[in-house]
Amino acid sequence: MTPTPRVTYMECVSDVANAQHPTFASITEAHLDDVYRYLLYMTANPSTAEDLTSETFERGLLRWRRFDARRGSAQTWLCQIARSAALDHFRSEERRRRRELHVAVRESTAAEIELPDEYGPVLRQALRTLSAADREVIALRIVLELDPATAGRVLGVSPSACTTRLNRALERLEKKVRPRLVA
C-alpha cells in the first residue's frame, strides 16, 4: 500500500486562497501556451508571437492590480491584452510598410508568414492564405476552445457575430484544405 501524501492544513488554505486570488506567476504558468498559440495564429510568425507573448505578460504584470476575477477569467484577460499587443504590432507594421512604399521597397506580407512545421504542409499553406482576423477567431474558438460569449468579449463583438465570423473563417479554411487533402 502506497502511503498517502500528507497535506498540511496551511497547504490546503494556500491552495484555496490561490484559487480565489491567483498570483501572477500562477496564471502565467497556466496560460502561457494559450497566449502563445493565440498570438501565433494571429501573427503567423513564431518569433513575432514569442515577442508579443513576452510583451503581453509584461503588460499584464503592470496591470495585474487591476485584474478582477469576478469580471472574467484570467485567460480572457490575458487574451485581451495579447490582442491589444498584436493590434499595436500590426499597426506599426502597417506604418513601416507605408514608409517603405515611399522608397519603393515593396515587401510581401506573405513573406512574413512563417508558420512552424508542426502544422504540417497542408494546414500551414491553408492558414497562410487566411487573414489575421480569420486566424484569430479560429484560435480563440477552436484552439483555445473558448465559448462564443468569451471569445466575443475578447474580440469586442457579440457572441452571434463571433460565431458568424468563425463559420466564415472555417469555410474559407476548408476550401483551402479539402482539395489538397483529396489530392
Partner: protein, 315 residues
C-alpha cells in the same frame, strides 16, 4: 467544419518554447507594481455617494445652525415713537398691538405737541369694539367728544356689511391744545389695536415767512401773499388731525412659531431644494456637452473596432 480539421488545428498547434518560458518566468518573478491609491473609475463610484452625503450633511448642519437662533421677531413697541419736534416727520405705518395687555401702556399720554412752536400733528388710532351696535354707539360717542373738545368732524365713513361685522372711519380735527385729552378719551372707547402719532414742525417755515414779510417793504402784493400763506400754516397747525378707525373684526392671531425641529427640517429641506436646483441647472446646461462627449466616445470606439477589424483582415 469537419472534426478532423478541428482536431488537426488543436493537435498541430505548437506550444511555447523553453526560451519563451524562461523569458516569461523572469517577467513573472518580478514584483508587481504597487497599488495605486484609488483607480479613477472607483473614484467616480465613490464620488457620487460622497457628493450626496456631503450635500445632505450641509443641509442638516445649516438646518441645525439656523434653528438654534430664535425666529426673527420684530420689536413691537406699544406706541409709535414721536419724532423730535425740530425734524419734519416722515409718515409711518401703524404699529400693531398684539394683545389687550398693552392697553394700559397705550393709554399713556401720547407725545405732547410743543406749545411754543407751530406743529402739524397727525394722530391715528385703531380701536376694536364688540359688535355692530357697540360700533354705532362708539361712533356717536367719538363725534360728541370731538365737539366737546372744540374740534370738528372732517369725514365719517360708517359701514356694516352684515349684522356681525362693521367698520367706522372718522377723520377729526381737534385743537392741538386738547389733543392729549382727546387721545385719552378715544382710547377708552374700545380696545386699542394700533396707534400712531406724527408731528411735523412748521415753526421754521413761519419764521421764514415773517422774515420775508419784513424784507418785502412796499410790495403789498407779495406781503399779502406771504401773510396768506402764514395764516394758512398757522390755522393748520392750530388743529391736529385725528384718524379714528373703529372695527368689530379682531386682528388675525399670529400662528404659533414653529418648533426648533420644524425649523431645522424646514431649513434643511430648503437647502436640499436649493442644492437640487443648482444640480439640475448644471445638468441642463451641461447636458448638450455631455451628450456630444458620449456620442464622440461611442463613435470613436466603434470606429476603432472597425479599424482594428480591417487591419486584421488586411494582415
Amino acid at each position: 467544419m469537419s472534426p478532423d480539421l478541428a482536431t488537426a488545428l488543436r493537435a498541430q498547434t505548437p506550444t511555447a518554447s523553453s526560451n519563451l518560458r524562461e523569458r516569461v518566468a523572469l517577467i513573472a518573478a518580478t514584483a508587481p507594481p504597487g497599488r495605486r491609491s484609488i483607480l479613477p473609475r472607483r473614484w467616480l463610484l465613490l464620488a457620487a455617494p460622497a457628493a450626496a452625503a456631503a450635500s445632505l450633511l450641509v443641509a442638516v448642519v445649516v438646518g441645525l445652525v439656523s434653528s438654534s437662533s430664535p425666529p426673527g421677531q420684530v420689536a413691537q413697541g406699544p406706541v409709535e415713537q414721536t419724532p423730535t419736534a425740530q425734524v419734519p416727520a416722515q409718515p409711518r405705518a401703524m404699529t400693531p398691538v398684539p394683545s389687550a395687555a398693552t392697553k394700559q401702556e397705550l393709554r399713556a399720554p401720547t407725545p405732547a405737541p410743543s406749545t411754543s412752536r407751530a406743529q402739524n400733528v397727525n394722530a391715528t388710532l385703531r380701536l376694536l369694539v364688540d359688535n355692530t351696535s357697540d360700533l354705532s354707539a362708539t361712533t356717536q360717542q367719538a363725534l360728541r367728544a370731538t365737539r366737546r373738545l372744540g374740534g370738528y368732524v372732517v369725514a365719517v365713513d360708517y359701514g356694516t356689511p352684515d349684522a356681525s361685522e362693521g367698520t367706522a372711519s372718522l377723520r377729526l380735527r381737534i385743537p392741538v391744545s386738547r389733543l392729549q385729552a382727546a387721545i385719552v378719551r378715544f382710547s377708552g372707547l374700545g380696545q386699542i389695536l394700533a396707534q400712531q402719532t406724527q408731528i411735523t414742525d412748521v415753526q421754521r417755515r413761519l419764521d421764514e415767512l415773517t422774515r420775508q414779510i419784513r424784507r418785502a417793504r412796499g410790495n403789498k402784493t407779495r406781503i399779502a401773499a406771504l401773510r396768506r400763506e402764514r395764516m394758512q400754516i398757522s390755522r393748520r397747525a392750530a388743529y391736529a388731525t385725528v384718524g379714528l378707525d373703529l372695527t368689530t373684526q379682531e386682528p388675525e392671531k399670529k400662528a404659533a412659531p414653529p418648533s426648533r425641529l420644524d425649523r431645522a427640517l424646514s431649513d434643511a429641506a430648503g437647502v436640499l431644494t436649493a442644492e437640487l436646483a443648482v444640480g439640475a441647472y448644471a445638468l441642463i446646461v451641461a447636458s448638450p456637452l455631455l451628450i456630444l462627449l458620449a456620442a464622440a466616445f461611442v463613435g470613436s470606439r466603434a470606429y476603432r473596432r472597425y479599424a482594428d477589424q480591417r487591419l486584421l483582415e488586411r494582415a
